[in-house]
Amino acid sequence: MSNQEKHWEKSRGLLMITLAIWFVFSIGIFLFGAEMNEVTGPFGYPWTYWFTCQGSLGAFVILIFWFANRQEKIDEEFGFSEREDE
C-alpha cells in the first residue's frame, strides 16, 4: 500500500470515530429524551434540557478541535502537512 493510501485509510478511520461521537450527541441521546429528562444533570438542570441548551453544543465545539488536531497529526505522520511558506 502506498504512503498516500495509508494516509487516506487513517483519515477515514478518524472520520468514522468523529461521526460516531457526533451521532451520539446529535441523535443518540435524543432517542431517549423523555427518560433522561427525569434525571437531574449538570448544574442542576434536567439532563435532556441541559444537552439541548449547552451540552451537545459544547461537545461539538470540543469535537471539532479534537478532530483538527488528530488530522494534523495524521498529515504529519505521512509527510503531507503543509509547509509554512506555501
Binding site: Q4, W22, S26, A34, T48, I64
Partner: protein, 603 residues
C-alpha cells in the same frame, strides 16, 4: 488594507474598535440620563454602527479577483471564525430564536442542536478539502471535480434557490429593525436596509464582507450577552446565568403547574392580533417525539454543510490546516450566542410569570397591566396583548400574548433595564441580519459572475470586466431580494428553514461524495443535484397544498426526502455510467492531502 502589516495588526484594530463601541454605549447611557429621547437613542445606535460598517467596506475596496472572491486567502483562523459566526447567525438566530424557545420549548430547541452539530460535518467532510481545491465558489468545485458546464450550472441553480430563499428573509429582518429604529414605513425601510448591506460588499467583495462581518459579530455578541447577564444579576438569579439558572427553570415548572395550561376557545383566540402567541407548552419538559426532534436537527445539520455562503468562508483561510481550526472557532463563537438563547428565554419568562418579582404580570389586574409603559409601547407595535377571557379581572397565563420577536426586543424593557440596552439590541439585530444578507448576496452574485459568466459564457473576460459584472449582479440580486421582501410573503424563520432544506436536497451528497467517493461521476452528480432539488420541491408543494406527507417528514424537514432521492439518484446513475477518467481520479487523490499546490492553482 491589504498589506500583511494589516493582518498582523488585526487584534489591535478590532480591540480599539471594541473599546470604541463600548465607549459609544456608555456615551449613550449618559445621554439617556441627561434626557435624550428613546427614539433618538435608537436612531443613533443603528446609524452609528451602519456608518462604521460602510466605512470598513469602503476601506476594503479592491480591483483584484483574488481579494474580491476569497479575501486574498489570508484571513487568520480566529477572525475567520468570527466572520463565519456573523455570516451564520442571521436575523432569525438573533431576533426569533429565543422567542421560539420561549413559546415552544424542547421541540424547538432541535434547531439549537441542528445549527451547531452541522459544523462537525463541515469540518470533517468538506471544508478542508474544498480549501485544498482552491476554488472561488462552491459551483467551482462541482464544475471542476465532475467536469462540464451542465454540472456547474446545476450547482448554481441549487445555490441560487437556497440562498435566495434565505436572503429575502434577511432583508425583511433588516427592514423590520430599520423601520422600528428609524420610525419609517417598512416598504421604505427595506431599501434602507438593502443599501446598508450593499455598502459593505460592493467595493470590496469578500474582503469587505469579511472585515465588516468581524465588526458585526462584535456588536451582535455584546448586544446579546449584555442583557442576559444584566437581567440575571438584577433579579438575583446568579452572576453567570448559564451555570446558575437551574432553580429558575424549576421555578417556571412550578408556576406552570400552579397556573395550569388553560386552552382558549377559538372565539377568544380570534380576538388576539395575528402572529401573537401565548405560553401553551412546558418550558423544560420533553414535548416532542424523538423522530420529530431528530429529523428537524438532522435536516438543519445536513443543510449547514450544504449552504454555500458558509462553505465559501473557509476558502479565505491561508491553509487547509487553518480551515479546519477555523471551523472550530466559528462554532465556538456561535456557541456563545446559542447557549445564551435558552437562558434569555428562561429569564424573560420568569420576569413575566413570577408574582414574587416586581415585573411579573400574571395575577395582576388587567387594568394595572394595561397601564404599564412597556405594555402600551409593545401593544401599539402589535407585539403584545392581554384580554380578560374569563372575566375575573386579573391576567391569567392563557390571557397574555406576545410576538416571537418581542422576547429578544422587549425583554430588556420588561426587566426594567435602561433604554440604551434596547437601542443596543436593535443595533445587534441589524448587525446579525446585515452580515448574513451580505454573505448570501455575495454567494449568489459570485456564483453567477464567476461560474456562469466567466467560466461558461466568456472565459476570456478580463479581471476588470469580471468584477464589474460581479458588482452589477450584486446590486440586481439585492434589489430583487428587497422587492420580494417588501411583499412580506413568508415569515422570517420559516423561509430560513426552507433554505436549509433546499440546500441539502441538491448539494449535500454531490459535495460530500465528490471528495469521499472516487467513483462518483458527472452524470451521477447532475442526477443527484437536479433530482434532489426537484424531489424536495415537489414534497414541499405537496405538503403545502394539503398532502399528508409520509414518515413524519413535514414542510420544515422536506430536505430529508430530497437528499435521500439525491443520494439514490447519484449512486445509481454513477454506477450505470462510466467511471471518471484517470485525471479526475488523480485530482481526487490530491484533494485528500493538504500538502502541495491547490488543484485550481495548478491549472
Amino acid at each position: 488594507m491589504k498589506s500583511t502589516n494589516f493582518i498582523d495588526n488585526l487584534p489591535k484594530v478590532y480591540g480599539i474598535y471594541t473599546g470604541g463601541f463600548i465607549g459609544f454605549i456608555i456615551l449613550m447611557a449618559i445621554a439617556e440620563q441627561m434626557g435624550m429621547s428613546a427614539k433618538a437613542i435608537g436612531i443613533a445606535f443603528v446609524a452609528f454602527t451602519v456608518f462604521i460598517y460602510a466605512l470598513i467596506g469602503w476601506l476594503s475596496r479592491t480591483a483584484q479577483a483574488d481579494a474580491y472572491y476569497v479575501a486574498g486567502r489570508q484571513v487568520p483562523t480566529v477572525f475567520n471564525g468570527m466572520a463565519t459566526a456573523a455570516d451564520w447567525m442571521s436575523g432569525a438566530s438573533f431576533v426569533a430564536m429565543a422567542g421560539g424557545i420561549y413559546f415552544k420549548g424542547y421541540g424547538y430547541m432541535a434547531l439549537l442542536v441542528g445549527w451547531t452539530g452541522g459544523y462537525v460535518l463541515v469540518a470533517s467532510l468538506l471544508a478542508p478539502y474544498l480549501r485544498k481545491f482552491g476554488c472561488y465558489t462552491v459551483p467551482d468545485f462541482i464544475g471542476t471535480r465532475y467536469g462540464g458546464n451542465l454540472a456547474r450550472f446545476s450547482a448554481v441553480v441549487v445555490l441560487t434557490v437556497a440562498s435566495f430563499t434565505y436572503v429575502t428573509a434577511q432583508i425583511n429582518a433588516t427592514g423590520t429593525i430599520a423601520s422600528v429604529a428609524l420610525d419609517i414605513p417598512f416598504q421604505y425601510a427595506v431599501y434602507i436596509g438593502l443599501i446598508s448591506i450593499l455598502l459593505c460588499s460592493m467595493l470590496g467583495g469578500m474582503r469587505g464582507v469579511t472585515w465588516t462581518q468581524v465588526a458585526q459579530y462584535i456588536v451582535l455578541i455584546i448586544a446579546y450577552l449584555l442583557p442576559v447577564f444584566w437581567i440575571s444579576n438584577k433579579i438575583g438569579a446568579g452572576f453567570f446565568p448559564h451555570f446558575m439558572l437551574a432553580d429558575e427553570v424549576a421555578r417556571i415548572g412550578e408556576l406552570e403547574a400552579q397556573f395550569g395550561f388553560v386552552k382558549n376557545s377559538a372565539a377568544d383566540l380570534a380576538t388576539v392580533p395575528k402572529g401573537l402567541a401565548g405560553i401553551t407548552k412546558a418550558h423544560s419538559a420533553v414535548n416532542a417525539t424523538p423522530w420529530a426532534f431528530i429529523s428537524l436537527a438532522l435536516a438543519m445539520m445536513m443543510g449547514t454543510a450544504s449552504l454555500p455562503h458558509v462553505m465559501m468562508r473557509y476558502f479565505t483561510t491561508p491553509s487547509v490546516k487553518a480551515a479546519r481550526k477555523s471551523v472550530g472557532w466559528s462554532l465556538f463563537f456561535i456557541f456563545l450566542l446559542y447557549s445564551s438563547a435558552p437562558m434569555l428565554a428562561t429569564l424573560s419568562k420568569l420576569s413575566l410569570l413570577d408574582p414574587n418579582l416586581s415585573t411579573g404580570i400574571i395575577g395582576k389586574s388587567i387594568a394595572e397591566v394595561q397601564a404599564i409603559d412597556w405594555y402600551q409601547n409593545w401593544n401599539a407595535a402589535n407585539l403584545m396583548f392581554v384580554s380578560d377571557f374569563n372575566g375575573n379581572g386579573t391576567v391569567e397565563l392563557n390571557e397574555f400574548f406576545m410576538g416571537g420577536k418581542a422576547v429578544v426586543l422587549a425583554t430588556p424593557e420588561i426587566a426594567g433595564l435602561p433604554y440604551v440596552i434596547s437601542g443596543l439590541v436593535a443595533a445587534g439585530g441589524m448587525a446579525a441580519a446585515m452580515s448574513t444578507a451580505d454573505g448570501l448576496i455575495l454567494a449568489i452574485a459570485n456564483a453567477i459572475s464567476h461560474d456562469v459568466y466567466y467560466k461558461i459564457i466568456d472565459p476570456k473576460a478580463e479581471t476588470a470586466k469580471r468584477l464589474v459584472v460581479a458588482r452589477v449582479l450584486l446590486v440586481v440580486i439585492g434589489f430583487a431580494g428587497a422587492t420580494i421582501a417588501a411583499m412580506e410573503i413568508q415569515g422570517i424563520l420559516g423561509s430560513v428553514i426552507w433554505a436549509f432544506d433546499f440546500a441539502m436536497s441538491g448539494l449535500f451528497f454531490p459535495l460530500v461524495l465528490g471528495v469521499w467517493w472516487k467513483r462518483a461521476n458527472r452524470q451521477g452528480a447532475i442526477a443527484g443535484m437536479l433530482g434532489g432539488l426537484a424531489a424536495g420541491t415537489w414534497y414541499l408543494v405537496w405538503v403545502r397544498t394539503g398532502g399528508s406527507g409520509f414518515l413524519g417528514i413535514t414542510q420544515l424537514t422536506f430536505g430529508i426526502f430530497g437528499s435521500a432521492v439525491s443520494l439514490v439518484a447519484m449512486v445509481v446513475v454513477s454506477l450505470m455510467t462510466q467511471e471518471p477518467d484517470k485525471a479526475t481520479q488523480k485530482m481526487v487523490d490530491e484533494v485528500r492531502v493538504p500538502s502541495g499546490k491547490t488543484i485550481l492553482g495548478k491549472q
